[in-house]
Amino acid sequence: MIELDDVRVRLGQREVLCGVTARLPERRIGVIGANGSGKSTLARLLNGLVLPTSGTVTVLGDDTRRHAARIRRRVGFLFTDPDAQIVMPTVAEDVAFSLRRHKLPREEVQRRVTDVLDRYGLAGHADHPAHQLSGGQKQLLALCSVLVLEPEILVMDEPTTLLDLRHSRLVADVLRELPQQVVVISHDLALLADFDRLLVMDEGRIVADAPPPAAIGHYRKLMS
């Protein structure tokens, strides 16, 4: 469960979020809005990458201001650009890297890495240099590196922006099958069409909060 209570975020002179309040118990939640509307800041609030200037963000019962490290272990985050997330030279090493601080036995690490790569179609690339993968494969690798930690919530910031149609569909299929709660920031309306709930943001505020058809209608009106 995610709860935001009168959250304000100020970056320099600019107020990026202006009193956002929401309770998000649904399994699949989408966030849409114009560029600069505060979507990415909202996403970063959910695993403590950004802390509120005022108000509180509670994720899985913990206040992000007090327990950011604990929340980051329970909330996975996928960024738009996979190149910025890949740390190790090869595919399997990058996925295993996520588990390093967990001090798991080598066999357990190997099992989890093999399992997640197999599940998302990267098993054949385990020893390949990560930088030689296609854009879609890199995003899948970044996703594997997050999912290997078995997060309880997954936050994704425009995960399909750099992907072609085939890989966008693949990410959509993956999202549909994930058992955990997911919050997806996106401009890809098709990706969010079957979500449980969509938030529409504009100038740092939630201006619509509804199931996809109504929320997308509001967003189109806002953009016209």
Binding site: A69, P89, H131
Partner: protein, 201 residues
């Protein structure tokens, strides 16, 4: 790019199975021996040994060549200088020493996973804890450095393409400014991604 990034080549050779520490110690010993060798004949024997090691590792000719290719022009220049200022045997010995040392270092990276290298470095750096440094972070630096090479090369290619498209391909400023800005943006994004993966705990 393999040569630059030292990308691991999967395999099951005895060299692949050796622990990272043993390989690094072996590399240090071999480089010391190379420094001590003086005669071109002994260099020929050393070259044969290095060749056999590459053959045993099974990494392939392309990967082997990628290790020494970046130093080829340096080797040519060094050889020419040695011939002019010393003599032919010295030129052969000096150039062989550099090329064989680079090839051996490349062989270690080609047969060792970065995570094995990081784990070894972490163990070696564990006394750094006494002065408040985190060995994990220090070994992470190594990995990020290796990973940053292809990323920077990619950024440079993109900036070059943008320059060509705008017809300012000879402007150093038009190359350097966007490259530095992109590199700083990448560093910011990487830092955020590391935090998101719980690595700042």
């Amino acid at each position: 790019m393999n040569g630059l990034t030292g990308a691991y080549v999967p395999g099951g050779s005895p060299l692949h199975r050796l622990p990272a520490g043993a390989k690094l110690a072996g590399l240090a010993a071999c480089c010391t021996v190379l420094v001590l060798l003086r005669a071109p004949v002994s260099m020929a024997v050393a070259a044969l040994v290095v060749g056999v090691l590459f053959a045993v590792s099974g990494v392939g000719v392309a990967a082997a060549w990628a290790q020494v290719r970046p130093v080829r022009w340096f080797a040519v220049a060094l050889f020419a200088m040695q011939v002019v200022f010393a003599d032919l045997p010295s030129a052969i010995t000096s150039v062989s020493r550099v090329v064989l040392a680079v090839a051996l270092a490349g062989l270690v990276t080609l047969t060792t996973r970065t995570e094995a290298m990081m784990a070894f470095l972490e163990r070696c750096l564990s006394p750094a804890r006494w002065v408040g440094l985190d060995p994990f972070r220090l070994s992470l630096l190594l990995s990020l450095t290796i990973r940053s090479v292809p990323v920077m090369a990619d950024l440079a290619t993109r900036v070059r393409e943008a320059q060509r498209a705008r017809g300012v391909e000879w402007s150093v400023r038009a190359f350097a400014v966007p490259l530095v800005v992109s590199a700083l943006r990448h560093a910011d994004a990487l830092g955020e991604a590391l935090s998101a993966r719980g690595l700042d705990d």
